[in-house]
């Protein structure tokens, strides 16, 4: 992109002048990926808030969600359900993928993290990396190493208003992401289990002294995080149309960056971090260079770690009260 001999800004300037339409176009694209990042980032932040563990296998749960979407939609299509009612078939695909993915998350915690609950903090982290590698290879062996195509069953309608286009699928992804985030927020703030999750995150011993079953709350956390990742995986599979056993890696690290950007452990932080990261990526791709799209996330990660390691909404480090 950079042409030799010309200063950087002379390339930048004409791009900046194409402001209106392109800007809003990138905002829409950014919100679409940002919503997905936010859903996955929530899984990282919820688990970190309660266990102080970076669950590096979380990206793989997202990848499994994408595969489950293809599998279940395939089953429902073969059974003739999709022809009968596309909506019903899609709704059932979402429900089944979310349930099965939650079961994966639940099992991973019970097998790989729970036995290490009282071990030094590095051990569960290494266990998480192990689970990540295992799940990638497990999917590669059972589903094959080549790309899988998401069934073309959903008609794509393009909504256009003054040079800005948006597909119905983009609109769907943005709405579902925002609804799930609002739902999670209400769950955490208003329900008894949600309040108990916050209590456990703040003081596990005190929570047990009040009769809260810590193991149960941890399981609920993994189930919710994995369910959100499943929805994200399914929506991305619909959006890009292709799925591969390794897609969890990059998206996982980007969502982790989003969680750090917002302040790891903070639920609203993960939501804002995800959306901001999506917007930065998309605006960067539009105005600077789309070849460096993946690099923006990590440039941001480095800047955050240098300038404000606690993230946008993170709590400052220090002794716990």
């Amino acid at each position: 992109m950079l042409t030799k001999g010309l200063p950087f800004y002379t390339i930048l300037l004409p791009n900046l002048l194409k402001f209106n339409a392109m800007f809003f176009q990138q905002i829409i694209n950014g919100l679409t990926v940002g919503g997905v990042y936010a859903l996955i980032a929530l899984g990282y932040t919820l688990v970190y808030g309660i266990l102080e563990l970076i669950n590096f296998a979380h990206g793989e749960i997202y990848m499994i969600g994408a595969y489950l979407g293809i599998i279940f939609l395939g089953i429902f299509t073969a059974a003739g359900l999709t022809e009968y009612s596309l909506l019903l078939s899609l709704v059932l695909t979402f429900i089944m993928s979310t349930l099965v993915c939650s079961a994966y998350g639940f099992t991973v915690e019970k097998l790989a993290y729970k036995p290490l609950r009282n071990a030094p903090r590095l051990n569960p982290l290494i266990s998480a990396i192990g689970v990540s590698i295992f799940l990638q290879n497990y999917v590669m062996l059972t589903q094959g190493a080549t790309d899988k195509v998401f069934p073309h069953v959903i008609p794509v309608t393009i909504i256009e208003f003054s040079n800005v286009t948006m597909t119905t699928l983009q609109l769907f992804i943005i709405i579902v992401s925002l609804l799930l985030m609002a739902g999670l927020h209400l769950f955490i703030m208003k329900t008894k289990t949600g309040k108990a999750m916050r209590a456990v995150a703040q003081d596990k011993i005190m929570a047990s002294l009040l009769g809260i079953n810590i193991d149960r709350i941890i399981s609920v956390t993994f189930i919710i995080g994995s369910g959100l990742a499943a929805v994200a995986g399914l929506m991305v599979a619909m959006y890009y149309g292709l799925v591969n056993y390794s897609i969890g890696y990059l998206v996982g690290i980007k969502a982790f960056t989003a969680a750090v950007l917002g302040g790891i452990g903070s639920v609203p932080g993960a939501m804002i971090g995800g959306l901001v990261l999506g917007l930065i990526e998309s605006l960067g791709a539009g105005y600077l260079s789309s070849e460096y799209k993946d690099a923006y996330a990590f440039i941001i990660l480095i800047i955050i770690l240098l300038v404000k390691p606690t993230g946008l909404l993170g709590k400052s480090e220090g002794p716990r009260p």
Binding site: K195, M206, L209, L210
Partner: protein
């Protein structure tokens, strides 16, 4: 009501209590006194099963409880206010109290308030705690971390009462509080006991604790050095010298 039979517990690599045998009868206030590190808090944490005893038995109403998980202990009617109060700083005062009623109320220690459905009962308990500590009602929407030390102690006790315990374990309720607050807390403890709540109290403030308690145990490096009626221990010359500064 509660019985410990030669209980040993490790805290880290140190055997913090070595063969503790003690009992608490229904309706009693029993206090544990002794210097720092004598094993008083470890004893309470062992009863609540945050720490696991390596040897010995813990019996509550005749049932062995040393192998039950902590949340089962609470559901049997044992509630603890731990040292340092451990308020959830980012939960509101009301939410802190609601967490106290997480299991729904099981015991009968605190006077029976209403027999309605669960929600109704929890509302009644909330009213009961607000009557006990009116300042909590004023502050119910504030975050727990913004309360003063005395208010936090009241919140911690109120929260523990929300499960309607039969036995309340209190660890250092007077620690770091102004004398006027301390006397208010001790007065509340006496009132709760008068309503039928059994109390096991750990205190550094030995004089006040022994005056309040029916019986006391003196801890010394993980073992019980002396036990007796509160009044008798107050008059004991060794104890006067070691713990009462006379």
């Amino acid at each position: 009501m509660l019985k410990l039979e030669s209980v040993h517990t490790f805290y880290g690599h140190i055997e913090a209590i070595r063969g503790i045998t003690l009992g608490v009868g229904p309706g009693e206030i029993v206090c544990l006194i002794g210097s720092n590190g004598a094993g008083k808090s470890t004893t309470l944490m062992t009863i609540s099963r945050i720490l696991t005893p390596s040897k010995g038995r813990v019996l509550f109403e005749g049932k062995e409880i040393q192998n039950l998980p902590p949340h089962k202990i609470v559901s049997m009617g044992i509630s603890q206010v731990p040292e340092g109060r451990r308020i959830f700083p980012k939960l509101t005062v009301k939410e802190n109290l609601e967490m106290g009623a997480y299991l729904g109320s099981r015991g009968q220690g605190v006077r029976d308030q209403g027999q309605g459905d669960g929600n109704q009962e929890s509302e009644n308990l909330l009213e009961y705690v607000f009557n006990l500590f009116p300042v909590l009602k004023e502050r119910q929407k504030q975050l727990g971390g913004t309360l003063s030390g005395g208010e936090q102690q009241m919140l911690a006790i109120g929260r523990a009462l929300m499960s309607k315990p039969k036995l309340l374990l209190l660890d250092e309720p007077s620690l770091g509080l102004a004398p006027i607050i301390v006397s208010k807390i001790f007065k509340t403890i006496r009132e709760l006991n008068a309503e039928g709540l059994t109390i096991l109290l750990v205190e550094q403030n030995a004089r006040a604790a022994l005056k309040l308690a029916h019986r006391g145990y003196v801890f010394e490096s993980g073992q019980i050095a002396k036990e007796g009626k509160g009044r008798d221990l107050l008059d004991d010359p060794d104890i006067k010298k070691a713990y009462l500064g006379e």
